[in-house]
Symmetry: C2
Subunit: 377 residues, 2 copies
């Protein structure tokens, strides 16, 4: 897709490097000049300076205007099998299918908000501190002036799953095939899914994923209840509600959640400022109605070693067909493979790779070019 990646101007590609080089000077200036600035100006300058730090620099303080967490969506269900614990009643009402959202809004917002949607067998942790202890995208984008919203999908992490079927089968009230299909990815299969290397224990040459910290990464993985949920996944309608509430957010999906932003746009394009699909497990079919996808800029992003992957090559191909169809329909849609713009070695977990902040800077450049900034007060 070099024809698509060539849509990126050389200025845009060079932008990251230029901003990076400004950092030491700006930091030094702040230290020397001490406090001739207003508090607001100082905060903004400080956030900006630290946002472009390389990993090896200790970032300055993070200045948060507001943070917190809440849920979106969800519905009440009655169950007779909430428990097989002897001392607790098994009958009652529980609330399920909501998504959990944690957010941080920086002092000095300069960009539209980003909503981060994790993939299979993972939670919102995906976007936080990397396995080797570097800053996650959740904070990096806040430091770059974006409010960030990190979700746990319905039925995952801090968003409740419905355990009724487990209770039903355990209590002998339902057959075993009524149990939910719950999927945990073992390290061995995950090695292939996340494209760490050609076979378990072996890394691709130049791999950017911090394999020396893989033990910490494996702890991020959780059982995936997606197959036990209605289709489309209730996360989709919750994302629509969230986007409308935020009044314009960039939906950033990953892997298994790849289709969700597109399904959300199918429900309603209201509140969706843009879509960034990072290595989507699926793109919309090329034969689908493309009208919703002409209403916001869309970027589909893939890392390295994709074409040679039995698992990922067909997905890349299908996404290319989708992108061609959406462009044909008049959409501002592009697909970028990182090696085509000189960023190599990225795994499927590119938000955790050692060059994760370079990838973030590329995304930030794409957003700057394609998505309007919020109007100043």
């Amino acid at each position: 897709m070099s024809n698509l990646s060539s849509n990126l101007s050389s200025q845009e590609r060079a932008g990251i490097g230029r901003r990076r080089r400004c950092v030491p000077v700006l930091r030094a200036a702040l230290l020397v000049l001490a406090l001739p600035l207003s508090a607001a100006a100082q905060n903004a300058a400080s956030q900006n300076a630290t946002s472009r730090n390389t990993d090896s620099l200790r970032p300055g303080p993070l200045i948060i205007d507001k943070q917190g967490s809440f849920f979106v969506g969800g519905r009440d269900i009655r169950s007779e099998t909430l428990s097989s614990v002897p001392n607790h009643t098994a009958t009652g009402t529980i609330t399920v299918e909501q998504i959990y959202v944690r957010y941080q809004i920086p002092a000095g917002v300069t960009h539209a908000s980003i909503t981060f949607i994790h993939g299979c067998c993972l939670t919102g942790k995906t976007w936080e501190t990397t396995p080797d202890g570097r800053m996650g995208w959740d904070e990096y984008f806040v430091r770059s002036g974006y409010p960030t919203y990190v979700i746990d999908q319905a039925g995952r992490g801090r968003a409740a799953a419905d355990p009724s079927a487990i209770g039903s089968v355990r209590l002998g009230r339902a057959p075993a095939d009524r149990l939910p299909v719950v999927f945990s990815a073992g390290h061995e299969i995950a090695w292939d899914i996340f494209r760490f290397g050609p076979q378990y224990g072996q890394a691709f040459p130049g791999l950017q994923f911090p394999l020396e910290s893989q033990a910490e990464f494996w702890k991020q993985m959780v059982p995936d209840w997606s197959e036990a949920l209605p289709s489309p996944n209730p996360t989709v309608s919750a994302l629509s509600e969230l986007a409308i509430r935020l009044g314009g957010t960039i939906l950033v999906s990953h892997s298994q959640s790849g289709l969700y932003p597109f399904q959300t746009a199918d429900l309603s394009t209201a509140g969706i400022a843009g879509i960034i699909a990072i290595e989507p497990g699926a793109c919309p079919a090329a034969t689908a109605d493309m009208q919703p996808f002409t209403r916001m800029p869309i970027l589909v992003l893939f890392g390295d070693n994709v074409e040679t992957s039995r698992r990922w090559a067909p997905r890349l191909k299908a996404c290319k067909a989708f992108v061609a169809a959406a462009r044909q329909a008049g959409g501002t849609v592009e697909l970028v493979q990182l090696p085509d713009i000189g960023i190599t070695g990225n795994s499927h977990m590119l938000m955790q790779d050692k060059n994760s902040l370079s990838v973030a800077d590329f995304l930030s450049g794409w957003i700057d070019t394609h998505i309007a900034r919020p109007s100043q007060e």
Copy 2:
């Protein structure tokens, strides 16, 4: 236990109110004086000023020195039944029994860190934004100068459960009674557990819990896999590892996790600066070895309407017996019932009650009296 609560000095009780009254003056001074302070002093003053805001005031910016998330503990297990999804292998290695930890360290640390440990059927969300949208203790204590660490217990929230038994039974390789005991608390039983009122749908007079936002609260509840985990819960050894790593943290438990800090101290008292057990589901037996509990200050805290609760009155009584035994052994251990110090109407979820920041201020006062501040640089 008025004899125990009377250990709190009247100065200590009055302290919160005094600090609160300083806020408007200090805020105004900051606005007028603009920037005659060093950046560090200004940050500290700003954090301090905002930390004593009442709920109705818009707090100032939150200045974070460092934040992130990581896991502690965990072990690898082999499983043949990780999945019943046709396209995914069921054989592999997964990592389970770790705890998830999210932390924020404020600019200008003035106190020992706090580790917040949630209770039954809940996650670390317990300590975040309240159901009616007010600031959670996680942020309030950061604003008060405490590094805060919020965990998800092993097998809950972002800390993986082991689904192997579900797969085994679903695939016909194990009988139904091998299924994990997973417990979800329905709204109806939770109403009683959390002491919202004498019966479902009816509130205690003067109840502080924001029942008008109960729909948001129910979404916090998740299935509880504790019964399916080894005993003691693997969270305990992970807490010990965390405490040692932090080099001195106050373990704050709630409800089902009430025993965990005591079990942690039984393993090793290293790194435990203090224990605050909020409405513990259980205290150590009065006949237990009290030596570990003489090594750090301990506060057991209960809210309102406890003595009349069939569920909670026996727990209060047992905790009083423990406290008496620990004091007898020479420990600095006290039990406080909030009504005895003039704070009334609190439910079991007192960190979310409308007066949650008053309760936080009481705890902060207790900590100031009992736990040494970190030495200044």
